[in-house]
């Protein structure tokens, strides 16, 4: 039977529901009454430099990807043989990495042995088993995506199949075998390397991270080689998997035409315990306190400057985002207008927040590139530096005009409307904000009109304090 839903939908919408299941997993449920019984499910888990061991950057992403190729129980045609082969691969990969690190030629026999073992390991595995089981729910194909600092696993399934999906997700989390982890690591690193190589602003961003976070893992520069210098053991990979995928570090967001109470009951039953969280989670040490630092680079592909400000933890993220939009969001932004008024030709203006990946030490980053058409040689970066520095001081001195803030609100609201226009986009939007800032779903979904102008000005004043700023200039060689 199919019935039209129009009459059943009401303007009165239920509030989002947040819950923590017995194993420590955090959930946000966003029911949409009147919508078809389809659930969009997104799981965000941490990844990125802060989670990666030295010399194995990209590993947190790689383990998440490797976990999609089936579990220890689901996806092995011969467990004992597969384990033997994986152990041989690990040992040969270790030798290969050590030889490469020592600058020695990797023997052909070793390479052939790796190929042969990998081929045999593939033959005794059924890497598509987990995905196949998911589709029998029936669910749409899963998608594992990434941001700079997270991995995102996204699914769509019928509400009636939610329990089955939960069981499969649990199997993936609790029984990792990490098939093909070495290849996944190479793939992840190749991807990160390509992104870093293609972005001409990478040197400035690396320097900003280094100045802001020092020797902390978040301060590491972008990788420059696909092959890491450190051998990867499966034990270490599993350790990183456990650290990043453990229940209390993941956030699940579900939306669709379901009853929140009913779904909550299923989730509480399914996510009851985890072997990953037997030991308490020990967070990474915080990076050093912010202090003003400046660096000047020469060479590179662009002439420009990057200024990053450590954002105080107690500031409202929406107020900071509005402040950044007003400051550097488009050609009607404060910086754009001010630099133009001062005769500066600007090629690129970009504001980024949060930058740096750490929840309590996020940066707000402003990047200003010189106009490539400006052929005046010499001190373009230095002139930008002086002008932008003065502009940031001016931005913190006077409150923004209400009309200017209204424009910024419009721009930001437009971005958000687009992001939230699909169930998948909504999950992503809510998940990332809840995960990054510890915001409640209600806070995440509130209107920008509730953020008053005074809060925006306060955000500008606090984050633009000179002692919070790190600055990098780069003058391109002519």
């Amino acid at each position: 039977m199919v019935v039209a839903a129009a009459a059943s939908a009401t303007a009165q919408q239920p509030a989002p529901r947040a819950l923590t299941t017995p194993d420590g997993s955090r959930f946000v449920l966003l029911p949409v009454p009147g919508a078809p019984p389809v659930v969009s499910w997104l799981i965000v888990t941490p990844a990125g430099p802060a989670e990666d061991p030295d010399g194995l950057e990209g590993l947190a992403l790689a383990v998440a990807r490797a976990s999609m190729a089936g579990t220890a129980r689901v996806g092995s045609r011969n467990r004992a043989t597969e384990e033997d082969l994986l152990a041989r691969i690990e040992e040969n990969e270790r030798r290969r990495t050590l030889l490469r690190g020592a600058g020695q030629q990797v023997p052909e026999a070793l390479i052939n042995s790796l190929r042969s073992d990998a081929s045999q390991a593939d033959a005794v595995a059924d890497r598509l088993a987990w995905e196949r089981a998911l589709r029998q729910v029936p669910a749409l194909p899963s998608r594992l995506q990434r941001t700079d600092h997270t991995t995102l696993l996204q699914l769509s399934a019928p509400v009636a199949g939610l329990g089955r999906v939960a069981a499969l997700l649990l199997a993936r989390r609790e029984e990792p075998i990490l098939r093909g982890i070495h290849d996944e690591l190479r793939g992840a690193r190749a991807e990160l390397l390509a992104v870093a190589t293609e972005d001409p602003w990478t040197p400035l961003r690396d320097e900003i991270r280094s100045l802001a976070f020092g020797a902390h893992a978040a301060g590491r520069p972008s990788i420059t080689e696909v092959e890491g210098f450190r051998p990867l053991s499966r034990a270490l990979a599993l350790e990183v998997f456990e650290r990043t995928q453990r229940p209390e570090r993941s956030l699940h967001v579900l939306t669709g035409g379901f009853d929140a109470e009913m779904v909550a009951a299923v989730l509480v039953q399914a996510f009851a315990r985890s072997a990953l969280s037997v030991d308490p989670f020990v967070p990474s040490p915080a990076p050093p306190a912010p202090r003003a630092r400046t660096s000047r680079l020469t060479g590179g592909a662009v002439t420009g400057i990057a200024v990053a400000c450590r954002v105080p933890v107690d500031l409202d993220p929406d107020a900071v985002m509005l402040a950044m939009t007003w400051l550097a969001g488009g050609d009607e932004s404060f910086l754009s207008r001010r630099l133009f008024a001062h005769g500066m030709r600007v090629g690129q203006l970009r504001g980024t927040y949060p930058f740096g990946g750490l929840r309590d030490s996020a940066l707000a980053l402003v990047e200003v590139g010189a106009d490539e058409r400006d052929t005046r040689d010499g001190q373009r970066a230095e002139r930008l530096f002086v002008e932008v520095d003065a502009a940031l001081a001016a931005a913190a001195a006077e409150p923004p005009l209400p009309a200017e803030l209204a424009t910024a609100r419009g721009l930001l609201a437009a971005q958000r409307a687009a992001q939230r226009s699909t169930p998948q986009g909504l999950c992503l939007y809510v998940a990332l904000r809840c995960a990054r800032f510890g915001m409640t779903p209600e806070q995440v979904l509130r209107s920008l009109e509730t953020v008053d102008d005074a809060a925006v000005f306060r955000a500008l004043q606090e984050m633009l304090e000179p002692e919070r700023r790190v600055r990098v200039t780069q003058e391109k060689k002519s």
């Binding site: 689901v74 890497r127 598509l128 029936p138 970009r350 687009a418 169930p423």
Partner: protein, 756 residues
């Protein structure tokens, strides 16, 4: 054509690009497996991210048609290994589908909306305005450029600069797509501001482009569009290929870009005036909290004067999908080989829609197994998964996978066999139940998304379908035993499919099967087959006009018709080493003699199409057939000979583009059907002389080779034919490496004696 939702639109401001973004907030995925992200990261720092595709391991091919349960180490099935927890009720026989309600306004605009749209608190509203004009309308590139202008052309006299800018001021974002037969504008906005959105849309649509727009403003937009199309190909060739195939753009991308660069502001203005009219458009809206009646009133109140009732309701155009292309389309490319199988997406208004959807699921099984996947597994000997790309604005789904180029032709043959298998082996009960459940869920998932719902109802409106077909199809899929598969199978088995390949090289033994798709640096195009006949006709005509000038400039038709060969003495200098003097006797019946003198050494070559011999200092060496043909072809490409061949009607050209170089207009013409290489002439349109000749050759061993010669110092020979006496030659678009000076040129075919 589609664009990122928040692409920076500051092309014309003093800031080249400006944005404010969340560092890691929004994630886009690659559209097809194995490709680099398509979106420009710098635009808004949306980190492009790869969806995970499980690498296919080697495994014995499965023979069964039904998806086998996944094996575990203990021999148990996945169901046993992972028992499902907790009940959540039945699969839900009562499916709530937002029912579409339709209203036709006096101005001929069809408004479709759910009686009340569901949405979470604070959910944005969405609308889709579909204009029944697409890529097939007007001159090539015009529809895309007109859409770009409508949304992004920035003028200081307009509030917000552009439609995008004006919408952003009220918290709305816009995305534009141009498909084969329709242009759609998708707007997301704060639900309470739908009237302002409608007012803005109407105010921009009612006002077509002013042809007097500043040239630099229009050019910036035009160049931006062309550059984006080029970037899309470079960054994600398979995605671009899928887009091209589904929009029917089989012409070379370089040609598309060239056509866009030829379009003028006046053409765009005329196009918009003719096509951007309310009658015949469909406005589908999804605004949580608003009823359909509210929305209809809002449209009627907010959209005049675009809704001009005086123009009458007009007829709603019937947008039927054009016949699907079939065959194998191959774009050689340096990179991993990817294959896309295109299958038509059943339309919900066709009589056996539910059955066709089920059979499609049996075929594809969401890209994992299914009859097609099993066939491919049989070919490659291991499990294979496809990325399934939903049809979006088009009528075809695409299944994309990495594959070895050797399996392409067998796969193409296997696809026909798989489709035929439905006649001999209709889906068994388990396969049918599984496919019906999947088809039902896939449809339900689409209508559960506001954007999916809007897309479906807009398409149904243009197909004259009643909105309840959605609910009816879902209901039929819920009872697979009542599906009329016997009636649907013959239709489905005749489904026209196509295969597209990016990467690798097509097998030499299948030249008739494979159509080459070329782009940019890629090898030659078989222009006659790849360019739509209408467009080809136009560009041929234009080329003929320019070539007629060339015929006059090179000595006139009568003289050129008699030109069947020549003798030329050329000194070649590279600046390094000794000069080389070459005397060439060439006759266009395929005979050539060359004497090459370097210092005291002379090499004489006597060549015809079957090979030849080189003689030097008493030694004789055979010339291979390939080498002989290559030298004959090069000799035949003397500018005078090319123009002579055209004068005799032995070859044809088409116009690619017009350029202005150093204040003089030049036409770039491409030879049609002139052989395996791509030959382009650059012609001075004022004097009709050939200024450059570019030959692109594809060599399987070394890739593309581009030889460019530039000509000058034209002299008249014997009062009849003109020929260049100076030329420079460059390789692979580098600096000129050879300077060639003609000492003598006889415009007459050499005798048999001279050719010995």
């Amino acid at each position: 054509m589609s664009r990122g939702r928040r692409r920076a639109a500051w092309l014309l401001g003093f800031v080249a690009a400006a944005s404010c973004v969340w560092d890691d907030a929004v994630v886009e995925t690659r559209p097809v497996s194995g490709e680099r992200p398509a979106e420009e990261v710098a635009a808004d720092r949306e980190q492009a991210v790869e969806p995970f595709v499980v690498p296919p391991p080697p495994a014995p091919p499965a023979g069964a048609a039904e998806t086998p349960p996944a094996a575990t180490s203990t021999g148990a099935t996945v169901e046993e290994a992972v028992p499902p927890p907790g009940p959540l009720g039945d699969a839900g026989q009562d499916v709530a589908v937002p029912a579409a309600q339709v209203a036709m306004l006096d101005g001929g605009l069809l408004v479709v909306a759910p009686s009340r749209a569901p949405g979470f608190a604070g959910a944005p509203g969405l609308l889709r305005l579909t204009l029944p004009v697409g890529l097939r309308a007007g001159k090539p590139g015009l529809a895309e450029l007109a859409a770009e202008v409508a949304v992004d052309l920035k003028l200081p006299t307009r509030p917000g600069g552009s439609l995008r800018g004006a919408l952003a001021r009220i918290g709305a974002s816009i995305e534009v797509r141009v498909a084969r037969a329709a242009t759609s504008l998708d707007v997301a906005f704060p639900a309470g501001r739908y009237r302002e959105v409608l007012e803005l849309l109407a105010s921009y649509l009612v006002q077509p482009l002013d042809p007097a727009v500043p040239a630099e403003t229009f050019d910036a937009l035009r160049v931006g569009l062309a550059a984006r199309l080029g970037r899309e190909w470079l960054r994600a060739p398979m995605s671009a290929m899928v887009d091209r195939m589904r929009t029917g753009r089989t012409r070379a991308l370089a040609d598309v870009i060239s056509q866009i660069s030829l379009r003028t502001a006046a053409e765009v203005a005329v196009f918009q005036r003719a096509h951007y009219l309310a009658p015949g458009c469909v406005l589908a809206m999804w605004v949580p909290g608003a009823t359909q009646a509210d929305l209809v009133i809002g449209v009627a109140a907010s959209m005049p004067p675009w809704l001009d009732a005086r123009k009458g309701a007009g007829l709603m155009p019937l947008l039927t999908p054009p016949p699907a292309q079939t065959g194998v389309f191959w774009a050689p490319y340096e990179g991993p080989v990817q294959v896309a199988v295109f299958v038509p997406q059943p339309s919900l208004d066709q009589p056996l829609a539910a059955e066709m959807l089920v059979l499609l699921e049996c075929l594809t099984h969401d890209g994992l197994a299914g009859r097609l996947g099993l066939a491919l597994e049989g070919l490659v000997g291991r499990d294979v998964s496809f990325d399934l790309l939903s049809p979006g604005e088009t009528d075809q789904i695409a299944l994309v996978a990495r594959a070895d180029e050797k399996v392409v032709v067998p796969l193409w043959e296997a696809v026909s066999q798989v489709l035929g298998s439905f006649r001999t082996r209709p889906p068994a009960d388990a396969e049918l139940r599984d496919a019906a459940a999947r088809a039902r869920f896939r449809l339900m998932e689409e209508v559960s998304r506001p954007d999916g719902w809007l897309r479906l109802v807009s398409r149904l409106a243009y197909r004259r379908a009643t909105p309840d077909v959605l609910a009816k199809t879902l209901a039929r899929l819920a009872v697979p035993s009542k599906l009329e598969l016997e009636a649907a199978v013959p239709l489905f088995a005749d489904t026209p499919v196509a295969l597209a390949v990016v990467g690798g090289e097509p097998p030499v033994q299948a030249p008739r099967l494979v159509q080459l798709m070329t782009d940019g640096v890629l090898p030659r195009a078989r222009a006659g087959q790849l360019v739509p006949p209408g467009d080809l006709r136009d560009s041929r005509k234009e080329a003929e006009r320019y070539m007629a000038t060339a015929v006059d400039a090179f000595g006139g038709k009568d003289a050129l018709r008699e030109l069947h060969g020549y003798r030329e003495v050329v000194v070649s200098d590279t600046g390094v080493g000794p000069s080389v003097e070459t005397t060439t006797w060439f006759r266009d019946d395929g005979r050539l003699r060359q004497e090459i003198r370097i210092l005291a050494t002379t090499v004489t070559a006597t060549i015809d199409t079957s090979g030849g011999v080189e003689t030097s200092q008493g030694r004789r060496e055979p010339v291979a057939v390939d080498e002989a043909r290559s030298r004959l072809t090069a000799a035949a490409r003397h500018p005078s000979m090319l123009v002579a061949r055209f004068a005799r009607g032995e070859t044809e050209f088409r116009l690619l583009t017009l350029r202005v170089v150093a204040g003089r207009e030049q036409a770039v013409l491409e030879e049609i059907g002139g052989g395996p290489d791509t030959v382009r002439l650059t012609l001075d349109t004022q004097v009709g002389l050939v200024r450059a000749l570019e030959v692109r050759t594809w060599n399987p061993e070394v890739g593309a080779i581009v030889v460019r010669e530039e000509f000058s110092d034209y002299r008249t020979i014997g009062g009849l034919v003109r020929a260049p006496f100076l030329r420079t030659r460059s390789l692979d678009e580098g600096e000129p490496t050879h300077a060639l000076r003609t000492l003598e040129f006889d415009a007459a075919a050499p005798t048999d004696e001279a050719l010995k």
